[in-house]
């Protein structure tokens, strides 16, 4: 026998209404925990973008003037050549094309910035990984290069970026841990609100069984109720994360091609992926919670 959809909808709505405060509490908990999960991922993504330039122990970056001559660039390259300068471990040259590629990559969701920037505007740059550890000496080396002809500026990481990355990692781990805790609580809550729904209707269930209802006929509305709680909880969380994403994008520091941090930025693709994941997690928590409740407490 097929279970009628309108029956399931009616029973679920009825049960949600009856267990109103508990349903609300479940949904709030789902919402808060998913919002935390989502924020953690979005913030981490933003920080990763922002510090993308500093991968591989790059300690400072020498930006050349856009109109620097080949000779000037050659001179700097010479000065930084690891083969000749034993203070340098590694150096990577970013020409205009490569810089533009990275720029387009990082700001791929900002059409205004993209359309107003041309490849010829990009500064060429050297990313330097020094062989020495002493911050004072690294500083000196950079300061010297600043004086070289054709050099626009030298940006130092000073370990700041590493520090930021470490903190961001720590913060998002803590957030995630809290979120997992809450997610477990949310699962427990949904489990419980379903169990309560079943408890509130245990006479009904008993009678259903006695007049010949099949097991699935009894189970489905409860599982549906759990799914709805998870789903409804995921929605405000999604909205929150979406807002967080736009906030980050609008206030995210200097969005320039020449700065320590490339501006906190998170692409809308990433935001949507996180939101999608959140909705899936919400539904999963709801379904798992109610499935456990139904199998453990519904003795059909």
């Amino acid at each position: 026998m097929a279970i009628k959809l309108d029956y399931v909808a009616r029973e679920t709505a009825h049960s949600l209404r009856r267990n109103f405060t508990l349903s609300i509490a479940s949904m709030v908990t789902v919402a808060v925990s998913l919002a935390l999960v989502g924020s953690a991922f979005v913030v981490r993504a933003a920080v990763q973008h922002s510090t993308a330039r500093w991968t591989g122990d790059v300690q400072f970056i020498v930006f050349m003037k856009p109109d620097a001559s080949e000779a000037q660039i050659g001179a700097v390259r010479n000065a930084l050549d690891p083969a000749k300068n034993n203070q340098v471990a590694k150096v990577v040259f970013f020409d205009k094309a490569r810089a533009y590629k990275e720029f387009r990559e990082v700001f791929r969701d900002d059409p205004v910035l993209l359309s107003t920037s041309r490849q010829s505007d990009m500064p060429t740059s050297f990313r330097v990984k020094p062989a020495i550890k002493n911050a004072e000496l690294i500083n000196q080396m950079g300061q010297q290069l600043k004086q070289a002809p054709g050099v626009y500026t030298v940006e130092f990481a000073y370990d700041t970026v590493k520090q930021i990355e470490r903190v961001s990692k720590l913060v998002s781990t803590v957030i995630l841990a809290t979120a997992l805790f809450l997610l477990a609580a949310a699962g427990l809550l949904i489990l419980n609100s379903i169990r309560m729904a079943m408890f509130a209707r245990r006479r009904e269930i008993e009678v259903m069984k006695l007049v010949g209802a099949t097991n699935w006929f009894i189970r489905v509305p409860f599982m549906f109720e759990g799914l709805i709680q998870g789903l409804v909880g995921a929605l405000p969380a999604s909205v929150a994360v979406w807002f967080l994403g736009t906030r980050i994008n609008h206030s995210g520091g200097t969005r320039s091609s020449v700065a320590i941090l490339q501006g906190l930025y998170v692409s809308s693709g990433e935001v949507w992926a996180v939101i999608f994941a959140m909705i899936v997690i919400g539904c999963l928590v709801g379904v798992i919670g109610s499935a456990v409740a139904v199998t453990r407490f519904l003795d059909v």
Binding site: M1, E204, M208, K209, L210, V211
Partner: protein
């Protein structure tokens, strides 16, 4: 229709509610179960619709050994067995109409069937005026009649009734018995546990008497004692 082969039921611990009961009830029969309080009447009825399973012995319903029935088939067994419970088992959050309609909804009857059959059966048990009341707004006897209506409404092959007149005054009881009799004449097998001497003595149908879980009398056209 119903066949018991030396059925015993011992509840957890030592309570032996039914001992070595054998009986054979043909299609269309009307059987009274009598016996003192605690003699096992309700237990026997619960065994028949598989709310309980016997400790030993075999029960056949409509030719099938219900002990062999896989659990997902039990609902389909129960659709053929209407049951009036000693404690009514009404749904407190639903009106009289909804309580009766529920039995049809649960087994997937279409809406138009529900909408014609429910009022008809409520008329039959004399509750046409109470369709929209909640169970707690009914007198004990009225609740019992709702319970009877619900058991009847899908025209089962077998009707089990556990003291359906326990809370009714003599006149209403007579009305209910007429109803059960009418149902029985349409071919439904009726098994009814009762304490009501007057009813049993008037109807003169088959009487099975239990005492301490044993069948001590099985008499066609019997009396209460």
């Amino acid at each position: 229709m119903i066949k018991l082969e030396s059925v015993s039921k011992t509840y957890k611990g030592e309570v032996s509610a039914l001992e070595d009961a054998s009986a054979d009830i043909a299609k269309g029969e009307f059987v009274f179960l009598v016996g003192p309080s605690g003699s096992g009447k309700s237990t026997l009825i619960r065994l028949l619709n598989k709310s309980e399973t016997p400790t030993s012995g075999t029960i056949y319903v409509a030719g099938k050994d219900i002990g062999e029935l896989s659990s997902w088939k039990v609902p389909f067994l129960r659709r053929n067995i209407g049951c009036v419970f000693q404690d009514f088992k009404l749904l407190n959050s639903r009106t009289v109409y909804e309580n009766v309609a529920f039995a049809l909804e649960v087994i997937g009857r279409p809406k138009h069937v529900i909408e014609t059959q429910v009022p008809a059966i409520l008329e039959l048990v004399g509750l046409a005026k109470k369709t929209d009341n909640m169970p707690h707004e009914l007198s004990g006897g009225e609740q019992q009649r709702v319970s009877i209506a619900r058991a009847f409404v899908n025209r089962p092959l077998i009707l089990l009734a556990d003291e359906p007149t326990g809370n009714l005054d003599p006149n209403t009881s007579v009305g209910i018995m007429r109803l059960l009799d009418r149902i029985n004449r349409t071919g439904t097998t009726v098994v009814m546990a009762t304490h009501d001497r007057a009813i049993v003595d008037t109807m003169r149908r088959r009487v099975i008497e239990l005492d301490h879980g044993r069948i001590i009398r099985d008499q066609a056209r019997g009396v209460y004692e």
